[in-house]
């Protein structure tokens, strides 16, 4: 249950990577830091302003979505077409700036976010289940269902799929590709905020919470970088592997197990579990 819940968080962060990668071919190394910002905004809304948890959640998601869209419109749109690793470095730089911003604004203390699920347990057939973990899993499922419906059943969602499959063709069909990309960044940042808020009761909020993004890479690669169900499955697999390697293997393996799996996966099947590998034809 524990591993499943943590895996869901990895999956959500990986989902953010995949959405952006599929659409714009940019890899956003600042995804973990967006998660951190989302969690901090929720903390500010709930604890400092005394708002309801659900209101705080909505505010955090909306603020982060607008922030994500602006990030794309102001900064990232300029580097499309440049070498891919320039973009990687750009997002790494942005991530470092976000962390400094958070440490200047909120300080480097550790905060807790009170939620309706905190410290509640249900005993079901002799197994104790903590509500926090249930909230993560249920939250992930709801979010995925919403995203799935959005991408398959709305005009905007289908337009997004089109834009990510072939920009030029989508543009010829009258789809405003630039706007669509900004919206995808908005969704991705919003998903990161949700992941941050769901994670907050389990792992406390501090400025280094964003390093979870590195493990989410393992999840994204495992599932095939560019496959949405793959990202979630990969996240859950990584979460479970981490849990079991912590229980069975010697100390120290828990922290690196995700990366070992990542390296093995890249060596054996670089396209991931769900990905398809294409070859450029000359």
């Amino acid at each position: 249950m524990n591993g499943l819940a943590v895996g869901c968080i990895y999956g959500l962060v990986a989902l953010g990577f995949v959405l952006i990668y599929k659409a714009t071919e940019l890899v956003n190394f600042a995804q973990g830091d967006l998660l951190m910002l989302g969690a901090f905004i929720a903390y500010m809304a709930v604890v400092l302003w005394g708002l309801d948890y659900w209101v705080g959640l909505v505010i955090a998601v909306l603020v982060m979505a607008v922030f994500g869209a602006l990030l794309d419109a102001v900064i990232l749109r300029r580097v499309i077409g440049q070498p891919q690793f320039a973009v990687v470095m750009l997002t790494i730089g942005l991530g470092a700036m976000f962390r400094t911003f958070a440490s200047v604004t909120w300080g480097s203390e550790i905060y807790t976010l009170p939620t309706p699920f905190s410290a509640k347990v249900t005993t079901l057939g002799g197994v104790t289940i903590s509500h926090e973990y249930v909230s993560i899993i249920v939250g992930t499922m709801i979010l995925c269902a919403v995203l799935y419906t959005f991408f398959t059943h709305t005009r905007l969602g289908v337009a997004m799929q089109a834009a990510s499959q072939n920009q030029l063709a989508a543009y010829y069909m009258g789809i405003p590709v630039k706007l669509i990309f900004s919206l995808i960044w908005a969704i991705s940042a919003g998903v990161a905020a949700v992941a941050g808020i769901l994670l907050a009761p389990v792992s406390l909020i501090d400025i280094n919470i964003g390093f979870i993004g590195l493990k989410a890479f393992a999840a994204a690669v495992l599932g095939g970088f560019g496959s949405i169900p793959g990202a979630l499955t990969g996240g859950i697999i990584i979460g479970l592997i981490e849990l079991y390697s912590g229980a069975w293997l010697p100390e120290g393996f828990k922290d690196v197990s995700a990366y070992v799996v990542l390296l093995l996966m890249l060596a054996v099947r670089p396209q991931g579990l769900f990905g398809a590998l294409g070859r450029k034809k000359v």
Partner: protein
């Protein structure tokens, strides 16, 4: 404006382009040799140590420049090679191996590590390679902290001052010259390699893998060579790094250091050896500059521990957005401005309009 005529094929493979260039580099060399004497005369000894950092970072920069700037392979885990070099060197020194033997062994070990990473990396490109090297670096960092019989874990590992053939490099000025020697050695080796078929193959791979392959470049061989050479240079830098820092701990060789090294080559200017040196000057001298600036900033900002990372991030973003060619690119522009005066055209360096290049299909 000076015209450069080629009348002989030998001109293409000269170390320096012409007599004027040779003169300026010789002058630069003399200035660098004389610098510590001037600094001692001015009683600014502190800066000798800082400039030694420039030399060490310069070797690191050359290492990454070969890999990223000339072969086009991105590594987000080069701090791991630096760490392997530093720990190997310190371990051999501790077990009684003399300096010259230890540094050679350290270079051999890091080169082997480079080959080990390079081999699976052959199948990966672009972002996958960056992620794989990142994962490698994190695993190696964990190894540093757990393999206590060699690295002493978080307790740390003291490194004594360098002694080469009975001569002690305890003094900062002496160590300055030692690092300068290794930097010049690394520069000479790299420059020679880049003028040889190997270097040209690397550049071909960077520009287009498919084109290089079609021209008969063995991709697997040359990519592995690039990794091995880059890692070996990093091992050399690591040995000097160990002496300079005098106390090794696993939390020195973090992902942040890897990113800082990549920042070095990007800010310096990708694809030029000058860039590696410019970047080294920038990365080595920025922290002291920030430390000086802290005194003038308001208390609330200057006391933040993450300030340095944030400033590095900001500079990285600004450089990528506004000067993708880095400091060396700016240098070229200024040089061209004066040599073309008053005919300089901004459009000479204008970025070509490029549509999105897909990396999904390879």
């Amino acid at each position: 404006m000076r015209f450069f005529f080629k009348t002989d094929y030998v001109q293409d493979i000269r170390l320096f382009r012409d007599k004027v260039d040779t003169f300026w580099y010789a002058l630069l060399g003399l200035a660098v040799i004389a610098l510590p004497l001037v600094l001692i005369a001015l009683e600014e000894d502190y800066f000798i140590g800082e400039i030694t950092w420039v030399f060490i970072y310069g070797i690191c920069g050359l290492s990454l420049m070969v890999l990223v700037g000339f072969t086009g392979l991105v590594s987000l885990g080069h701090a791991a090679f630096l760490g392997i070099g530093a720990y190997a060197h310190a371990y051999f020194i501790q077990h009684g191996v003399p300096f010259s033997g230890a540094i050679v062994l350290a270079i051999i070990i890091t080169t082997l590590a480079g080959i080990l990473v390079g081999l699976p990396a052959l199948r990966m490109t672009g972002i996958y390679l960056a992620i794989a090297t990142l994962a490698f670096a994190i695993i190696i960092q964990e190894v540093f902290s757990r393999w206590e019989s060699v690295t002493h874990g978080f307790a740390g590992m003291p490194v004594e001052k360098a002694t080469v053939l009975g001569f002690s490099f305890e003094d900062d000025t002496a160590f300055y010259y030692l690092c300068l020697f290794f930097l010049v050695l690394a520069l000479w080796l790299t420059k020679n390699l880049l003028r040889s078929p190997t270097g040209r193959a690397w550049i071909a791979i960077r520009d287009s893998e498919i084109a290089a392959q079609s021209m008969g470049v063995n991709l697997a061989l040359y990519k592995t060579m690039a990794f091995a050479y880059s890692a070996g240079l990093m091992g050399m830098a690591g040995a000097l790094f160990a002496h300079k820092i005098a106390y090794l701990a696993p939390d020195i060789f973090t992902v942040i250091l890897s990113i800082q090294l990549l920042l070095l080559v990007i800010v310096g200017g990708l694809g030029s050896l000058h860039g590696a040196i410019f970047g080294a000057i920038f990365v080595a001298l920025l922290p002291p500059t920030i430390a000086i600036l802290r005194d003038y900033l308001p208390e609330a900002i200057s006391r933040q521990p993450g300030l340095e990372a944030g400033i590095f991030g900001l500079i990285l973003v600004l450089v990528i957005l506004f000067e993708p060619l880095g400091i060396y690119g700016r240098w070229m522009k200024i040089k061209l401005y004066f040599s073309m005066f008053p005919m300089y055209k901004r459009a000479t360096f204008k970025r070509q309009k490029s549509y999105m290049k897909s990396e999904r299909l390879r």
